[in-house]
């Protein structure tokens, strides 16, 4: 992956929009916590309306899926060295343990490999640290050049 510090500064300004201006992420109350080149951390608040089973009070897996999908996508954007659009190709999620009732969920993602057309990600959801994960995810994302954005480099995968 090529790192382009100037371009990352641009991404850093734009990245919060990928969560804040996304209606579904807003609906679920997601927020971007941290951004580094190729890495992103986001938070999902505990909301009673997103409970999966009222008998346990545990948040539905679908919220974890959405958070992991979103933060993985942001990590891909944080790894770009030129503007491209991203679309999730696939996402696999393994659930290790239920989330705890009443606690926010943090998700951290890294884009660990990128070709011209595809990016690969790993992500972890937890309350405190990666030592005790709620779920892990691995994803792949299709990359497309955005019309109107000049492509400045021709380097391949």
């Amino acid at each position: 992956m090529t790192e382009n510090p100037d371009f990352f500064d641009l991404i850093r300004q734009y990245a919060p929009n990928i969560i804040n201006k996304v209606p579904y992420a807003n609906t679920l109350g997601f927020e971007l916590v941290d951004l580094e080149p190729g890495k992103a951390i986001a938070r999902a608040p505990y909301k009673p309306e997103t409970i999966g089973d009222i008998e346990t009070g545990i948040i539905h897996g679908g919220v974890v899926t959405a958070l992991l999908d979103n933060v993985s996508g942001v990590s891909v954007i944080a790894a770009l060295s030129e503007m491209k659009s991203t679309a999730t190709l696939d996402l696999r999620i393994d659930y290790m343990r239920p989330a705890e009732v009443g606690r926010d969920i943090i998700a951290e993602a890294e884009c660990y490999h990128m070709t011209r057309t595809v990016a690969f990600t790993r992500a972890w959801a937890y309350h405190e640290s990666r030592d005790r994960v709620i779920a892990t995810a691995s994803g792949s994302f299709a990359l497309n050049t955005i019309k109107g954005f000049p492509t400045n480099t021709g380097e391949g995968s």
Binding site: Y24, A25, G52, H60, T65, A66, A87, D90
Partner: protein
């Protein structure tokens, strides 16, 4: 026959009543005989990309997960809800700002673990927008 359908409808209603998240994203379903079709009516809040008006992958994914769990609950005698062990979602096409439909098939149901496949589509059944393949833990086991 109608007795069966009534019973299934009641069972499904029980499932939905105890899952606030289903109501939150607007999950609906219809039972036709032994088949269930789930519906996610389009709402602005499930948009993931406002510039191209595409649904959020997390909304599509959650909808497929709810469909799979509803289908499992409908077919099993379990009182507790199935818990997801893992799932893979393939995003095949862009989901547009329209209603989303899904059906799930229980591929294998063991004593403790079930494998479920689900497919979501929009205007054409033959052109799915996303598919799900998942394993669930049944019963109250940890």
């Amino acid at each position: 026959m109608s007795e069966d359908i009534l019973q299934r409808q009641k069972k499904l209603q029980d499932y939905l009543n105890r899952t606030p998240f289903a109501d939150f994203i607007g999950f609906k379903c219809e039972i036709m005989g032994d088949e269930m079709t789930a519906i996610l009516p389009f709402e602005e809040k499930i948009i993931g990309n406002p510039s191209i008006r595409a649904l959020h992958g997390g909304a599509t994914g959650a909808f497929l997960e709810l469909t799979a769990m509803a289908q499992l609950f409908l077919l099993s005698d379990e009182v507790s809800l199935a818990k997801p062990i893992n799932l893979t979602i393939d995003y095949l096409r862009q989901a547009k700002a329209e209603n989303l439909y899904a059906r799930a098939t229980v591929t294998k149901q063991g004593r403790r673990i079930a494998n479920v496949h689900a497919e979501a589509w929009q205007s054409e059944r033959a052109r799915p927008v996303a598919t799900l393949s998942a394993h669930f833990l049944l019963g109250s086991g940890e």
